[in-house]
Symmetry: C2
Subunit: 568 residues, 2 copies
Amino acid sequence: MGKRIVIVGAVALGPKVACRLRRLDPEAEITVVDRDSLISYGGCGIPYYVGGDIPDIEGLCSTSSHALRDPEFFRRSKGVDILPRVEALGIDRQAKKLQVRHLDTGKEESLDYDKLVIATGATPFKPPIPGADFPMVFTVSNLHSARDIKEKISKGQVEKAVVIGAGAIGIEMAEALTDLWGIETTVVEMADQVLPAALGKNMSRIIENQLEKNDVKVMLSEKVEEIVGDPESGVTAVRTGSGTLDCDMVVMSAGVRPNTLFAKESGLACGRSGALLVDRGMRTTDPHIYAGGDCVELRNLVNGENMTMPLGSLANRQGRIIANNIYGRASKFKGTVGTFCIKVFDMAAAKAGLTFAQARDIGYDPVHSLVAQPDRAHFYPASKLMYIHLIADRKTRKILGIEAIGSQGDAVKSRVDSVAPLLQAGIDVDEVCVLETGYAPPFASAMDIINNAGNVLDNILEGKNITMDPVDFIRAFEKNEIQVLDVRDQNEIEPFIKKYGKRWMNIPQAELRDRLDEVPGDRPVCLVCGTGARSYECQVLLSQNGFDNICNVQGGHAMLLATAPKFV
Amino acid sequence: MGKRIVIVGAVALGPKVACRLRRLDPEAEITVVDRDSLISYGGCGIPYYVGGDIPDIEGLCSTSSHALRDPEFFRRSKGVDILPRVEALGIDRQAKKLQVRHLDTGKEESLDYDKLVIATGATPFKPPIPGADFPMVFTVSNLHSARDIKEKISKGQVEKAVVIGAGAIGIEMAEALTDLWGIETTVVEMADQVLPAALGKNMSRIIENQLEKNDVKVMLSEKVEEIVGDPESGVTAVRTGSGTLDCDMVVMSAGVRPNTLFAKESGLACGRSGALLVDRGMRTTDPHIYAGGDCVELRNLVNGENMTMPLGSLANRQGRIIANNIYGRASKFKGTVGTFCIKVFDMAAAKAGLTFAQARDIGYDPVHSLVAQPDRAHFYPASKLMYIHLIADRKTRKILGIEAIGSQGDAVKSRVDSVAPLLQAGIDVDEVCVLETGYAPPFASAMDIINNAGNVLDNILEGKNITMDPVDFIRAFEKNEIQVLDVRDQNEIEPFIKKYGKRWMNIPQAELRDRLDEVPGDRPVCLVCGTGARSYECQVLLSQNGFDNICNVQGGHAMLLATAPKFV
C-alpha cells in the first residue's frame, strides 16, 4: 500500500501538490478535500471576469486546452481524487487522523494520513463596520461571490459603487466596475495613498491620477464609519469621516486573513499574522503536516522577517516543493521578495522588495532615485515614458526595493523582474548600473532606464546629485519657498512662464555656462528639466561653480506631469 | 591645470566617458577625436531608419529632447570638446602622446595625455568574395552607409536584394528592406540556421519560418562564391554554391572586426579576436590607456572565456566605469553574459548565456527543455504563445543559457532578463523553478512559463520526462521510425488522423488510464499533445506502467507548428 496523503484545500496549492505527487509516486493514496463545490480556479482572475475580459466563469476553472478542472477531470486525467463539499474539522495529530464533515449529508468521518497538507488559503477580511453584513456588500472571496457581483451588475442593479480599500484587489475591482459597466465608483482608503504596501508616495500619485483620469474617484486618509442601508433591501450609502457617498453596492477589499482555525486548534504554531509557520521544506511545527499558499507565513528575503504573501503564483511554486518533499526529495522554498504587479486601466505598476516607508520603519536609512525615461530607444516610435523608483540602504548601498510604472505593462514588469530575483542575494547599486538586460532599440535604450535608475542613485549616494522629490517640490513651490530654474529650451516652457511669471525662470542648459551670474544666489533654487537628466547636469555645473543652495527635481517635468497633472 | 584626457572615438563610449568625466571633474582637459564627421549616434537604430520607423537620420543623433548631438551641443551643454574628422595614427606610450591627422587639412599633430581612452569601435567585416567592392554592395557600418542604402532604395533603384549573413544585423536589414519597401530579399547564411550564435536549432526554426512568412527568403548552409556585376554600374546577382540569385543590392552582415590597428602597433595586447585586452577596470596592458566598447574583449561570465560583444548598451555602461576610474573611483566591469534581443517583424527573440552547441563545444554536458505556453494567464484575452529554451549542465544543474521567442516582444525579453543577471552567479535549475517574477493574470501565469521551463528541465534531469525535440521528431516521423500517440481530444486532432492515418493514433489523456492495452509496446512511441504538458503526464503514466520505449515531443503541437508549419 502506498503512502496516505490527505490534502485540505483544492484551489491552487492543493491540486498542485496532488498532481505532482501522483506523477512522482503512482502508489500514493491521495485524497483532496475542499469545503467548496467549486475547485481549482484562478481566483486572481475574478476582477477580469467581473470586468468582462473573461466572458464566462468557466474560463477561470478550465485548462488552457479548455478542459473543465472538476473532480472528474482530476480523477480521469490526473489520477487524483478530489472530494468537494467536505470540510476539515480538526486534526488528531497523535493518531494522524483528519476529522471531516460532508457538508451535503452532514456525515462526519476521519481520514487517516501519513502526511497531511494544509492548503486552506485565506478569506477576505470584513472590517467590523456597522452594515457590513447587509446585502449588496461583497468581498472578492471566491467564484460564488464573483458570480453574485457580476449578476447584480449585469441586471443593471448597480449605478454607484464604493470600494473599501485601495490595495490590489480594490483597484482591480474599481477598474472592472468602471471600465465595462460605467458604474460610478469611489475607492475609499484609510492610508494617504493607494497601494500603500507596494508603492512610494510619488509613484502612488501616478496611479491615483490614472484612476481619476479613468473616472474612478479616489478618497485617501478616509475611514468608513458606517454602511447605510437595510438588512433586507441592501445598501444606499457609505458614511465616511468626511461625508456620505450614495451607492448601491459596496466591495470590501481590506486584505485577507489566513484560514488556520482548525490547524491552530490542533496546536500547530502560527505567526503574528495568524498564518502557519513553516520551515523551508514547507513543514509546519508537526513534521508530518505540510502547509503552503495563503495560509502560511513566508520569509521576506530582503529584511529577513516573516510576512504573508497571498499570491497564486507563490502557492503553485510551493505546491511543487511540498510534493517533492513528501516524495522524499529535499526541495526548499526560501521565501519571497514580494514581487508584485498590477494592471490599472492602460497602465501597469510593478514592484519588488520594500517600499521606502517600510525600509525606514524597520531601521534602514533608505535613499531613493526617481527616474522618468522612454521605455525603449527614444527614437523608436513605440517608445513611451516609464517611471522607476529605486531604493537602497545608504550605508551598505544594497538595493532594498524597486517600483516601476508605465503604459506598456510587459515592459514595466520586465524592469522589476530583472532586479527582483537578485534582491535576496543582496544586489547593490553598482550592479544595477551595469545590469545586463537585453538591448535592441525596439525594446530598450542603450543606457536603459533600469541602469539609469542605478546611475542616478549612485550619484545621489555620492552626493553629486542633490534632489527634491516631485511631491515635495510641489509643496515647496506652492508655499513659495523655492525659485524654479527651468533649463529646457524656451519653446518648451512658455506656458510655465506665462502661468508663474518670475517664479519660473528659464536659462536653457546650452546657455547656462555663460549666464551663471543670472542664477540667484540668495535663495533656494530648484532646477527643472524634461526628465531630470539635464537639470542634474546643470546642478552639477552650478555646484562646481560654488552654488550651494540648489537642487533638482527627480524625474523632471515628466514626473511632475504624472504625479500632479493639475499643477503643471 | 587639470588632467589631460584624450579620447579616440565619439560614437557611443567616447562621448559617455567625456560627459561623465566632465561632471566628476570640472578641471579635466578633455579632448575627443573621431575620424568621422558624424558623431554620437545610435548605430543600432540604422535598420529602423532604413525601414522607415525612424523617418530622419537626425533621429539617430539627437537627444530625447530633440537636441542634435553635434560638437556644438557637446561644447555648450556638456562642456566637452569633440574634434570630428581627426584620425588617430599612433601612440607614443613613453611620452604619452597621441599622434593624429586632421583629415580635412592633412595637418598632423600630437596630443599630450595623462590618460588615453580608445573607443574606436569595430568595422563590418567584408568577406573576400570577388565583387565585394562593387557599387551597391553595402555594409551597415555608419550613418553614411545608412544614408546611401536608404537613398538607393527610396529612388526605386532596388527591386531585389541579397543579405549575406543571418546574424542580428542581417535579419534586421532583411526586415527593413522587405517590410517598408517590398524589396524581394534573400538572406544567405553559411550555417545551417539563422542566428547561429544566439539560438538553438529548434528555436531558430521559428525565426526562419517567421522570416519566410514575411516574404524573406532564407537560404541556409549556403556559401556566397561571387558577387556578379560591374565595378561601374553595380551588381546584378550573387552566385552561391547552389545557384545564382538576381539582385540589385547586396548587404553584407558577416560580423565585425575591432578597430585596433594603431593601438596594436603601439604594443597594447590584443586577444584572439584581435580586440584589446582590458582588466575589470577597463585598462589595457598600459595602465594609462583605457579601452571599451566594440574594440575590446570582455569576459564571458558563464564560461569564463574572453569574447567580443559589440553592443551600444555595454559600451555605454563601460563608458561610465572608465570615467569613474580615470577620476579615481574604483569601478569594475566584470564582463557579459551575452544578453541579446531582436525584433523580427511581429515577433521577438531574446537570449542570454550559451547556446546548446556552444555549451557542448566547450565541454559541458548540456541538457535542455523546450516549453510552449501562453505568455500570460491562459484565460486572459491578450495571451499569446511563447517559446522558451532553457539549457543546464547535467552534472551541476547550473543554468548555461536561456532563449525565448514570442509575439509580444517586451514579454519575451522580460523572461530572459529575469534570468540573465543571475547567470554570472551560477543560478541552478531549482532556482528557475521558483524564480519570483511578478504575477497578475494580465502579465503572467500563476505558474509562469519561466518557472515551467525550470520544472520541465528538472523533470528531464531527474529522468522523469523523456523527451524528443521537435526537429528530431519530424525527422524520425518522416523516416517512419516512430509511432505517434496524440493524447489531445479527438476534435483537436482530426486533421492529423486524416493526413497520417494509423501512424498518428489518438487516445485522449482522460481515457489513457483505461486504454493502456491499446498502446503499442513493440515499437517506439512518441507522445504529442498541445504544448507538451499533457504528453509528459501521459508519458509518466506509461512509464509507471512499464512502457520503456516511449518519449514525448517537447513543446507539443505548438512547437511543431512554430518550427515546421508545413509538416503539421
